[in-house]
């Protein structure tokens, strides 16, 4: 979505009624983020909106980017926010080989996730409560960190997802699933996340000061 560099647009203040609606939207979409919403968007602080190309709005507090949204699609976290609250977003993990493709803006394909280095939710309903949290026991052999923070619940098509990477601590992309995680496992091929936001893309490099 942000393969090209973006030149900063002007910021505008978000009305307090709209700010409240956005807070609700965020906590509904990302329930695990709810306990921290006052830290992310303090009630007293002014939330700003910046219009960027292709009808995307970026929400920020001061220079700190928080969320972005294409028209009225799902509101997605900026990667810097994912890095601040890594366990609060549903996630999948790609294998090491897929990293450089994702970082060049390629569509994330199923084989990069279904391989040994990749991770998808286990699908175990008993893990429902762990959704989004780190699964300490599941770190594979030869890995020291970057076990990921995927959970048990299968994710549906259209759900926002953070993309972690084998051997890496931080997430490298954010996007919307174009295929449910159950289907990814069954099919093992096809695009999984298209048009996401990734490390080093135009949104990442956008100057927000």
């Amino acid at each position: 979505m942000f393969k090209k560099d973006i030149s900063p647009g002007s910021k505008s203040k978000v009305k307090s009624s709209v700010q409240r609606a956005i807070r609700t939207q965020i906590t509904t979409t990302y329930p695990l983020l709810a306990p921290y919403i006052d830290e992310i968007i303090p009630k007293k602080e002014q939330l700003d909106a910046m219009k960027i190309p292709d009808r995307v709005t970026l929400y920020l507090i001061g220079p700190t980017p928080l969320f972005f949204q294409h028209m009225t699609d799902a509101i997605l976290p900026h990667l810097k926010l994912v890095h601040r609250f890594p366990t609060c977003f549903p996630s999948i993990r790609i294998d090491r080989g897929a990293i450089r493709f994702v970082l060049s803006g390629a569509t994330l394909m199923a084989p990069g996730i279904t391989s040994t280095g990749g991770r998808l939710p286990s699908g175990d309903k008993d893990e429902e409560g762990l959704y989004g949290e780190s699964q300490k026991g599941s770190v594979g052999e030869g890995e020291r960190e970057g076990g990921g923070w995927y959970g048990g619940r299968e994710l549906e098509e259209g759900e926002p997802v953070a993309v972690c990477a084998e051997g890496k601590e931080e997430a490298c992309a954010v996007g919307v699933l174009s295929m449910g995680t159950k289907e990814v496992k069954e099919k093992g091929k096809g695009p999984v996340v298209e048009e996401g936001h990734y490390l080093g893309d135009g949104l990442w490099k956008l100057s927000t000061e």
Binding site: P8, S10, D38, E39, R84, G167
Partner: protein
């Protein structure tokens, strides 16, 4: 009511270090074109992290999961990226040394001046944003307009050439002082002002 007492008072968010060269988390520097510079920066600024990411052991562990073929392809890719980044940097340096910012004083009517600024975009500045800054700084009209030769100029009301140069020098040090040209533009009587 009880809930509010439980809410965390301390900030709960993690603080992540980003690379001072390529801006990514340092563990991802390897995928950019500036690996060497990134490594130097990390070693200077975050010694411990450097050890963790770039020690021989860490490197061996990181690549062991890839097949020989995939590793070769990744290496080739990294090399290409590095060359590309170098070329881009050289080109950028060249553009900078060759580009000029013109600050023109233009007499519109008798004793009425406007100041025109052109050439900022070559240094990666955005005319619209800078025009706004001028307007704020000098409390005067300041707008971006197209010039007949293509491209844009910022037109500021009043004679503020020197102030503009000073302001830009201070705020945008990507433009070397020698690259400014202050120009006086006098309109002959009868000629249309441009």
């Amino acid at each position: 009511m009880a809930d509010t007492a439980e809410s965390p008072a301390e900030p709960q968010s993690r603080h992540v270090t980003y690379c001072g060269v390529c801006s990514l988390p340092p563990e991802y520097c390897e995928f950019g074109g500036t690996v060497k510079k990134c490594q130097e920066w990390l070693q200077r600024n975050h010694d411990d992290m450097y050890e963790r990411l770039w020690s021989a052991d860490a490197l061996a562990a990181a690549t062991s999961s890839l097949s020989v073929d995939a590793r070769k392809r990744a290496e080739k890719d990294a090399h290409k990226k590095a060359l590309k980044a170098e070329a881009a940097e050289a080109k950028h340096a060249q553009t900078i040394s060759a580009s000029k910012v013109y600050i023109k004083r233009i007499e519109r009517n008798k004793r009425k001046y406007v100041t025109s600024v052109t050439g900022l975009e070559a240094f990666g500045l955005e005319n619209k944003k800078v025009a706004k800054e001028f307007g704020k700084k000098f409390a005067t009209g300041s707008s971006v307009s197209k010039v007949p030769s293509g491209g844009e100029e910022i037109v500021v009301q009043g004679d503020v050439s020197e102030e503009i140069e000073e302001f830009l020098l201070e705020k945008y040090d990507v433009i070397p002082e020698d690259n400014y040209e202050l120009v006086e533009h006098k309109v002959k009587k009868g000629a249309s002002a441009t």
